[in-house]
Amino acid sequence: MADPIGDAIQALNVLIVPTADGTGAPTTTALFGNIQTFTTAIFGISSDMQTVSSDIKTALTDAATVVGKIGTSIAAAGSLTDVGGAMTALQSSLSLLQTIAPAGTAAVFNSASGLFQAIQSQLTALAGDAGKTIADAATELAQLAQILTALEGLFP
């Protein structure tokens, strides 16, 4: 299995180059400026488009915060296998709770279960064929958070 986070970071190098350790400010390319001009104009066409842009910006902030915190947290964990195992256990437990919880709570459990499943899936990919360590995973997540934060600049 390939490294989906690393591949995505690599693909976005045409716009944003993260720092080596994922801290500080990334470098934006000249093309980023071109695309920013384009998206600023597109999302400025109408008030509805401005609202969409604002919502995307907020979503990117939320996503960057979550990804950054996951990166910081797993850096302190033992190994990718341990973290992956914990995520699987959490996902299984939450799925079970979801089946017996009241409807209102089930949606929250479903969301949390889905999150842990997604993280576990990404970590499994890293620990598998990509052969990365937990330090690599933490760095890649920090870089991804850095990129997502920088992407906010594309949305006015």
Binding site: I9, A11, I35, I42, A59, D62, A63, V66
Partner: protein
């Protein structure tokens, strides 16, 4: 699987009512302002006059129908403005065509990845954003030219502007 041109068939279908003026030269695309500046207006197609007469009667039947006609007229005019704006902006990317196409593809990938990890509350919006860049990338890939994509959108905006008077203005 190759993606077909999503805009061309719409322009073609609308041509029985309103035909873009001038016609698009796909070999050497014209500036988008050819259609968006208001200098040229779409030519009435064979069905324009009969359709206008029919719709005039239909939307004049009652005050409620007139209000619906007004709303459609306003909606078409607004959409034409938005599409013209998008066409002009896409047209501005023609000098960096390959880089822009690559950037849209990368943005789609990263936003899709973020969506898989982000909290549920952010999922829908990130999906929309990823979808937007996916659509842009698909259009550019299917047409093979930013100039043609921009021009087809410009043609569509001109057609929508010309089609709006089919419905009574407020």
């Amino acid at each position: 699987m190759a993606i077909s041109d999503p805009i061309g068939p719409v322009v073609q279908a609308l041509s029985v009512l309103v035909t873009p003026n001038p016609a698009l030269n796909k070999v050497s695309p014209q500036p988008t302002s050819t259609w968006t500046s208001g200098t040229n207006t779409a030519t009435d197609g064979t069905l324009f006059t009969p359709a206008q007469a029919l719709l005039g009667v239909l939307f004049g039947l009652s005050s409620d129908m007139t209000l619906v006609g007004n709303a459609i007229n306003g909606g078409l005019t607004e959409m034409a403005t938005v599409i013209a704006g998008i066409a002009d902006q896409i047209g501005s990317l023609t000098t960096i065509e390959a880089e822009a196409t690559s950037a849209f593809g990368a943005l789609k990938t990263v936003l899709g990845l973020a969506q898989s990890i982000a909290p549920t509350s952010a999922n829908g919006v990130l999906q929309s954003a990823s979808g937007l860049f996916d659509q842009l990338n698909s259009i550019l890939t299917s047409l093979g030219s930013i100039g043609v994509a921009a021009d087809e959108l410009a043609e569509l905006s001109q057609q929508l502007t010309a089609a709006a008077p089919l419905f009574p203005a407020a």
